[in-house]
């Protein structure tokens, strides 16, 4: 067991009250596992990612714990967390395009970053990893502005994994890229796992199809809670949570034509996390909701490694 998250609650403090962006998340992540995290916009995916590495000023942990490789992560202690960052937990941010200091050549920046963490820059290793993602070596002697979006994205990937962290969080790393670059980046992530640069990975996206290609397990979130978590194929082929099902049904696959098969979206909109309703949070939009849904459904393991939070599953 590489990562264990239990009953994690992270709220945002705002003027109007607390936004319960993560409201009791529990899940495990094994060594070597890639976890795809999907869900509608605003369901708390990024919050989870941030909680695991660096909470911003408005986030508060309201409960729960995170254990990585047997050690508890002091996620709300910015200082203590520093020892884990980069070495144990690392991140490929959503904003990879602007994540590199624009006024430093990349080689220098990497060198300074590493030495600030007390590690000497191993150029050979760095270049080997760049080769692996198909980055030419002269990139190191360029400024970030001189790289294309895809190149920057891959460079950030290489940098983030230089210290072989045991957990890598990749938050929406592909959403701004076009399909061909998307594919290359996704492949590179897989390669990193396979080469052992990272042990396990959380891949955050809203593109289920893409997740399916790289993730071993897919976790679906809804309104700050876990809805369903299962091996990728299981989620795609035999989803049990009504939300997952509806989500999949609304995906226009290549080949699906309006004239042939009309897809439907999910009616309604997700609840406000400021003051979430009691009981099952999907209840209002759920076509099969029933009486029991007024009560919050527990996460149950209905099959090996298949967790669902639904009374009807």
């Amino acid at each position: 067991m590489s990562l264990q998250v239990s009953e994690l609650r992270v709220y945002y403090r705002t003027l109007r009250g607390e936004v319960r962006a993560l409201d009791g998340m529990s899940f495990d992540l094994a060594d070597g596992e890639i976890l795809g995290l999907v869900g509608e916009s605003g369901c708390g995916k990024s919050t989870l990612g941030k909680s695991l590495i660096r909470m911003d000023g408005r986030m508060r942990r309201m409960g729960g714990r995170v254990v990585l490789d047997g050690a508890e992560l002091p996620i709300d202690d910015d200082r203590a967390m520093n020892d884990f960052r980069f070495r144990e937990v690392s991140l490929i941010p959503q904003y990879a395009m602007s994540a590199l200091n624009p006024t430093r050549k990349i080689r220098k920046m990497v060198g300074e970053l590493l030495s600030s963490r007390g590690v000497a820059l191993d150029t050979a290793e760095l270049e080997r990893r760049m080769d692996q993602v198909g980055l030419p070596r002269e990139v190191l002697d360029r400024y970030p502005i001189e790289l294309s979006g895809g190149m920057k994205q891959r460079m950030v990937m290489v940098i983030s994994t230089l210290l072989d962290p045991s957990l890598l969080i990749a938050d929406e790393v592909t959403s701004a890229l076009d399909v061909s670059t998307q594919k290359a980046v996704a492949r590179a992530l897989l390669g990193f796992r396979d080469s052992g640069y990272v042990k396990s990975m959380i891949f955050v996206t809203h593109d289920i199809a893409l997740t399916h290609h790289i993730a071993d397990t897919i976790m679906v979130m809804y309104a700050g809670k876990l809805a369903e978590k299962a091996p990728a194929d299981v989620i795609v082929k035999a989803p049990r949570h009504p939300y997952t099902r509806l989500l999949l049904e609304s995906l226009p696959e290549v080949g699906v034509r309006y004239t042939e098969r009309r897809l439907e979206g999910i009616a309604g909109s997700p609840p406000s996390l400021l003051d979430p309703p009691t009981g099952c949070r999907f209840r209002d939009r759920c076509p099969i909701a029933g009486e029991e849904c007024a009560e919050e459904p527990p996460v149950t393991e209905i099959a090996p490694a298949h967790h669902v939070a639904c009374w009807k599953a």
């Binding site: 960052r85 690392s90 994540a99 624009p102 970053l113 502005i145 790289l147």
Partner: protein
């Protein structure tokens, strides 16, 4: 790169052209006749003598030629370094008058601009996001920038000069001195230079500190800073990067501020009777010395343009983004 500088040069060229043209127009189209004032001062009553003098001075200043000719002559003279003859200090050439004053002004402006910039930026960067310092540096900085130059000058003169008697309040060097490169003289120069310098330095310092503080707060919130802290980089490194990036706009700011700083120097010189361009301009205005005014004005414009150009070059050297943009590099 070439285009960038080409463009800059074009702007500077145009600015210079406009400035020179406006400048040329001053004595010709403004009320007040320099020839009349020359004559009035000479205390001549006799009509013929007045006429003779009028003719003489008109030709001396070139007013007897057609306007376009005067304009061309003006440019011609300019390129041969001839700014005409001062009326107030007749018959000293304007260039000589300016040359006498410029060292003082430069000695005030250059150190105060550079030092205030460097120190102000350090200060501001240091203060940003440090609650306690921020709460002191910020108000002090604002009070300093908000001070009219001359008021700070007057306050300094009053406290350190009149009350404490630590510094002289007028002149470029002691009146008992004759310029030479002995230590005593240099120390004396510095002694006189201190208060005017301080007044310029402090006002500008406040501005830079504030500017830097605001810039760096933005930079510390930027994506690359967040990324670095997510990777656990120590705040020392993050601050260093943020500083470097925040300094860049401050460089452009320096270019923008030059004009104001020059103006500040003028006022300060007047308060401290410092024998630089500021005192000269004031006298030129009071004495309607058009030619001297033209000369000083051109000199300042030229100085500011050159300084701007240097800043532009520096900017290109320090900011890779401009270079990359100019080379049209696309990866």
């Amino acid at each position: 790169m070439r285009r960038y500088f080409g463009r800059k040069l074009l702007i500077y060229g145009l600015t210079f052209f406009v400035a020179v043209t406006v400048n040329w127009m001053i004595p010709r189209f403004m009320p007040g006749d320099p020839v009349a004032s020359m004559i009035a001062r000479a205390n001549v009553t006799n009509t013929e003598a007045v006429e003779a003098m009028r003719a003489y001075y008109s030709s001396l200043f070139g007013f007897d030629q057609p306007l376009w000719q005067q304009y061309l002559n003006f440019w011609g003279a300019l390129f041969s370094g001839d700014f005409g003859i001062s009326i107030w200090l007749f018959p000293t050439p304007v260039s000589a008058v300016i040359a006498g004053a410029v060292p003082y002004t430069l000695a005030l402006i250059i150190p105060s601009v550079l030092l205030s910039w460097v120190v102000g930026n350090r200060f501001g960067a240091y203060a940003a996001r440090r609650k306690l310092l921020d709460n002191t540096v910020l108000p002090v900085g604002y009070v300093l920038t908000a001070m009219p130059y001359m008021w700070l000058a007057v306050l300094l003169a009053w406290t350190f000069g009149v009350i404490a008697g630590l510094f002289p309040v007028a002149g470029g060097y002691s009146f008992s001195m004759r310029p030479n490169w002995s230590w005593t003289f240099v120390l004396d120069l510095l002694h006189h230079w201190t208060l005017p310098f301080l007044s310029l330095f402090l006002v500008a310092l406040g501005g830079w500190a504030i500017g830097m503080r605001n810039m760096i707060i933005y930079e510390l919130e930027s994506d690359y800073s967040n990324y670095l802290s997510a990777l656990g980089a120590p705040s020392r490194l993050i601050r260093r990067y943020a500083f470097r990036n925040a300094v860049l706009p401050q460089i452009t700011g320096l270019a923008l501020q030059l004009g104001t700083l020059v103006a500040g120097a003028l006022v300060t010189e007047i308060v401290f009777a410092y024998p630089g361009l500021g005192s000269l301009i004031l006298k030129a205005i009071q004495n309607k010395d058009f030619f001297l005014l033209q000369g000083t004005f051109l000199f300042i414009v030229l100085g500011v343009l050159i300084a701007n150009f240097i800043i532009d070059i520096v900017y290109v050297v320090v900011d890779p983004r401009t270079r990359a943009g100019m080379a049209g590099a696309q990866a």
